[in-house]
């Protein structure tokens, strides 16, 4: 339940970025996953396709960098690093 909410929160943010940039489609999303973030790469991937369904991020590639450093200052967090967007009017 909480993971679901978190992934949907990320997707909302990604949609907002795409909308702001005037892009119709998200092609790639890069996430950084802290070592103590309580969320596994598998858990994230499982929920990703469902959460992005019928959004501009549907079908996008998900790149995960999973940190193993518990002492990292952001070790408990999930960071949305970047979003690749198809340019407005670009050929998809």
């Amino acid at each position: 339940m909480h993971e679901e909410a978190m992934v949907r929160d990320l997707v909302r943010k990604i949609e907002e970025v795409a909308r702001r940039e005037g892009s119709p489609r998200v092609t790639r999303v890069r996430l950084w996953v802290g070592a103590l973030s309580h969320l596994t790469a598998g858990g994230l991937r499982d929920r990703w396709s469902l959460a992005t369904e019928r959004t501009p991020a549907e079908g996008s590639a998900l790149d995960l960098t999973v940190s193993t450093d518990p002492n990292h200052p952001r070790s408990t967090e999930i960071v949305l690093e970047s979003v690749d967007l198809a340019a407005p009017g670009g050929t998809v």
């Binding site: 339940m1 993971e3 309580h38 969320l39 967090e77 999930i78 949305l80």
Partner: protein, 431 residues
């Protein structure tokens, strides 16, 4: 394709969840660990240096379902430290506020979390589709509990009207009278809830619990009383840490409590009822008798009936309080103007069981040390014991059925990771 990369630095909020790891060798459960990954929130640490007045509001944020419990334990612990007592109508209004929380929390658990387990639904949404009347009843009861919290606490979740010494503002007679009709309706719904719960089918399991709860001379316990158990504990709440201790299991972020030298114990409705059924009000006692509820319930699945009886008790008590209400002259007792360094401790009965707070204050009334022992951490070890017995008796089940059975056994105790345990990840290793 033309693409560009937009750099974002956005952090998603991270929430907790629970998992259960079971190692089975042949037909023996070798190892069983209930992991709670709820990230540590360091409340005890960041209370340090804050004024004693802030503890009720800060600790209320620990839980959205039982904020009143945190406020009550914090207020009583501070009043203990400051040598104050809250009497009369202010004490009674605190009980009324707590009744609201018991009603909403128990109704939520019975109908939205526990009932789907007994009726064969994966969750309340699917239950609502086929039994809308049951879910409606639960939501209506919850709403009435919330209304009480709204009137007394200023809002339903994380009330803002509670302070050390009493309240910032007390309700008028008319404000309380206005929710009486809703409470009368709640009484009917609560009694129906007990009948509904007692009609469910329960596995034939009994556990040998050490029940621990408060016990008060004149009333079903909420804010005051001694700590008692069915195995001879009888101590003032200030001696809690002499008898019970928190230990840290390396696999879990939640601390586990044990009765020193004795092991796991159970707090919550089963314990309260077993140790205080003689203090129930007449209608609560009568409905328990009507459905044939024994005085001591050792079947954890039947806790759903006990919660129902406690809703009747809370509604009955609320009506009694409202009918006798005369607003106090002042909304709070003024804390002393000068301090000396002191320590105060208190336990109150959250819907899920005893909630212990202890604070050490300096001569300026600033918190130097805080200790909070929540009901879920007290029950965690006992929940592991329940699940261990269940798994030992159910080894022939496949992993899916076993996971389902374990989730239900955990939910019996309404752990405050309830939402997360719906997604319990069961890791079974069979050799």
């Amino acid at each position: 394709m033309i693409e560009r990369t937009i750099h974002v630095d956005y952090i998603a909020r991270v929430e907790g969840e629970g998992a259960l790891k079971v190692r089975i060798r042949g037909d023996t459960v070798e190892d069983l660990e209930l992991k709670i990954w709820e990230p540590p929130r360091f409340f005890e640490a960041f209370l340090r240096g804050r004024s004693y007045r802030e503890a009720p509001d800060i600790t209320a944020r620990i839980c959205g379902i039982c904020p009143v419990a945190y406020q009550m334990s914090a207020c009583h612990a501070m009043e203990h430290a400051l040598g104050m007592r809250v009497h009369g109508e202010l004490r009674t209004l605190r009980r009324l506020l707590y009744c609201g929380e018991w009603i909403e929390s128990h109704a939520l658990h019975i109908y939205l979390l526990h009932a789907p387990d007994f009726l064969g639904y994966p969750d309340a949404l699917r239950l609502a589709k086929e039994h809308p009347e049951a879910v409606k009843k639960g939501l209506e009861l919850k709403k009435i509990g919330n209304e009480l919290m709204q009137v007394l606490g200023g809002r339903e979740i994380h009330p803002v009207n509670v302070r050390v010494g009493g309240f910032y503002r007390v309700p008028t007679v008319n404000e309380l009278a206005a929710i009486r009709p809703a409470l009368e309706r709640a009484m009917g719904l609560a009694e129906e809830t007990v009948r509904f719960a007692s009609g469910l089918s329960f596995p034939n399991i009994e556990e040998d619990y050490e029940f621990v709860s408060l016990r008060h001379e004149h009333e079903y316990p909420m804010n005051e009383g001694e700590v008692v158990s069915n195995r001879g504990v009888k101590i003032p709440m200030s001696e809690f840490e002499d008898v019970f201790e928190e230990t840290h299991a390396p696999y879990s972020n939640a601390l586990q409590s044990v009765h020193k030298g004795a092991g796991s114990y159970l707090v919550g409705p089963l314990a309260r009822y077993a140790l205080n059924h003689d203090k129930l009000l007449p209608r609560a006692r009568s409905i328990a008798r009507e459905v044939g509820l024994e005085d001591v319930v050792r079947n954890p699945y039947r806790s759903v009936i006990v919660r129902g009886v406690e809703i009747v008790q809370a509604v009955e008590e609320s009506l009694k309080i409202i009918d006798a209400y005369r607003p106090p002259d002042e909304p709070y007792v003024e804390p002393p103007a000068s301090f000396h360094a002191s320590t105060g401790a208190a336990i109150t009965e959250a819907p899920r069981g005893m909630l212990y707070h202890r604070y050490r204050l300096n001569e300026e009334g600033l918190i130097q040390e805080a200790k909070i022992v929540a009901p879920t951490s007290q029950n965690q070890k006992r929940i592991e014991d329940d699940v261990r017995h269940l798994v030992s008796a159910s080894l022939s089940l496949d992993d899916t059925a076993l996971t389902d059975a374990c989730e239900k056994a955990i939910r019996n105790h309404d752990p405050c990771i309830s939402c997360a345990t719906h997604f319990l990840k069961l890791d079974i290793e069979r050799t």
